[in-house]
């Protein structure tokens, strides 16, 4: 699903990624860990083609994104759900609209949109908040909206960059629980995180970066 081959990313003098090789198969759940500035976000950005490597190749679902034309980027992203630390919800739209909007972008019909949004809203237990705006919700609720938005298109990959960074431990567990559930439905999940207790209890594959180098890749691993 995700394949990185000898990937380097250099900003000026600084190497954010150094010769990273990574292969994530369909249906895997991967924790991406490492100290601040290790290059986790940089790696995640390569996957959704927000950035391209200075050297090396990034292949997503069989497609080489480094050689991809600009106009195919939206199509790539429609198969990737994203969850960020700061939620990235549209502040002027309701919860329902925030989720429906990613379906409208792809041209799903109105009736289908309604059904699918109701579906994911009940999955994240937010059916009763559909008409509220993001600023009327708690952080945990906002992140659940973001997760619902990420999964509503049934993407092959969900990328989460520190999705629990702004949440208390209990809420954080909820969110990761949701991601795990989505993963069980067959979706590949990559989650960059600093949340040691979560990683240690979940016992998933752990990939560790330090100063841009991939130093550990461990099945059923621990945070460190």
């Amino acid at each position: 699903m995700i394949r990185m081959i000898n990937v380097w990313k250099t900003f000026g003098e600084q190497h954010a990624l150094q010769d990273v090789n990574l292969h994530v198969q369909k249906g895997e759940f991967v924790f991406l860990v490492g100290p601040s500035g290790a290059g986790k976000t940089t790696l995640v950005r390569m996957v959704y083609r927000e950035d391209t490597p200075t050297q090396g190749r990034v292949i997503i679902g069989g497609q080489d994104t480094t050689r991809m034309h600009r106009k195919y980027i939206p199509l790539l992203r429609r198969n990737i759900g994203m969850v960020f630390q700061d939620f990235k919800l549209l502040p002027d739209k309701t919860v329902y609209e925030n989720i429906a909007f990613v379906l409208q972008v792809t041209g799903v019909s109105g009736r289908d949109i309604k059904r699918r949004v109701r579906n994911v809203l009940s999955l994240v237990s937010l059916s009763d908040k559909a008409d509220q705006r993001p600023d009327q919700l708690s952080g945990g609720e906002q992140q659940r909206v973001a997760v619902a938005r990420a999964m509503v298109r049934d993407p092959g990959i969900i990328l989460a960059d520190e999705p629990t960074g702004n949440l208390d431990p209990a809420t954080a567990r909820d969110i990761v629980g949701l991601l795990e559930e989505i993963n069980r439905l067959g979706c590949t999940v990559v989650m960059a995180t600093h949340a040691q207790p979560l990683v240690d209890t979940m016992r998933k594959r752990v990939v560790e970066l330090v100063e841009g180098c991939l130093i550990r890749d461990q099945e059923r691993g621990y945070y460190s």
């Binding site: 927000e50 939206p74 992203r77 994203m82 990235k88 990613v102 972008v105 938005r149």
Partner: protein, 294 residues
């Protein structure tokens, strides 16, 4: 396609309502520039009318030698009409010349008496010029013809006139084009501000896989609407303004040949609306581009 258009229109209205102040700024910028543009259009139309009116009045007179027969004179006239730059040629016989003189002086008998019974006036060809630049060449051709005594035309007057009307038109066009460019930039800037306020939204739309077209659509429609509404206001201002001017100047400066309102306003309206729509549309696309290509 229809769905995308409907989405764009709906989003455009939402955005205009939400950014009411910005929208108003962009719109009044459009109005301001288009009023100036409209004024330039009208001024330039009036200059053109004035210039061509004056040019039309310019004529050349070719005096013929006394022994030239009327038939020969008419063949000369026919030849002259084919020369480039000649609009028309009128033959004025000795008798007609005399009649004209008498008309001007009043009493035919007295005039004839004064000149001693014989008609001293030469027959002539009066040449109307299609464009005064050709005057020199036409005179050259005429002088080379048999039976032509003298060619008279106000050479320096032509030249001055040409210089003045040419200069006025040129300044008009230069001003208009400069104004158009300035207007487009101002609108692009105003719209860029409304886009800047929504850059987060655009970034998120890109993240979830919206195509550039889908993102640009609402902004293009928004720009188009703002440009059109701005142009509409400008059209009203310019229409009433010019009508008022024509009404008032007719009495204060009656000899000024102002182009009538009906004759000019239809095209001016169309041009202003078109320019407004175009400026808004291209301005907003110009503005949104920057947030897509990074």
């Amino acid at each position: 396609m229809m769905k995308c258009l409907a989405h764009s229109v709906r989003e455009a209205f939402i955005s205009i309502r939400r950014n009411a102040v910005m929208s108003l700024v962009a719109m009044s910028t459009a109005t301001f520039c288009l009023v100036l543009f409209g004024a330039m259009l009208i001024l330039s139309a009036n200059l053109n009318a004035l210039a061509s009116e004056v040019e039309e009045q310019v004529e050349m007179t070719i005096y013929l030698e006394d022994e030239v027969e009327e038939a020969h004179a008419l063949t000369l006239a026919e030849q002259l009409v084919t020369v480039a730059g000649v609009r028309d040629v009128t033959y004025v016989s000795k008798e007609e010349a005399l009649e004209r003189l008498c008309e001007r002086l009043g009493d035919q008998g007295a005039v004839l008496g004064a000149v001693g019974g014989t008609n001293p006036l030469p027959a002539s060809l009066e040449v109307g010029l299609a464009w005064p630049e050709a005057a020199d060449e036409i005179a050259e051709v005429a002088r080379a013809m048999g039976g032509v005594d003298e060619v008279i035309y106000a050479q320096s007057l032509f030249e001055q006139l040409l210089a003045v009307t040419g200069f006025l038109r040129l300044t008009g066009y230069v001003l208009v084009s400069a104004l158009l460019v300035a207007a487009a930039c101002l609108i692009a800037n105003a719209i860029r501000l409304t886009i800047f306020a929504r850059r987060r939204e655009i970034a998120i739309m890109r993240l979830v896989g919206a195509t550039d077209g889908y993102i640009k659509g609402p902004f293009a429609v928004e720009g188009l609407l703002l440009g059109l509404v701005g142009a509409l206001v400008a059209v009203l201002l310019v229409s009433y303004g010019y009508a008022w001017l024509v009404d008032n100047l007719r009495f204060t400066i009656p000899f000024l040949p102002l182009v009538p309102v009906d004759e000019i306003m239809d095209t001016t309206r169309l041009i202003l609306l078109g320019a407004g729509a175009f400026m808004g549309f291209s301005g907003s696309l110009m503005g949104v581009r920057r947030f897509l290509h990074n």
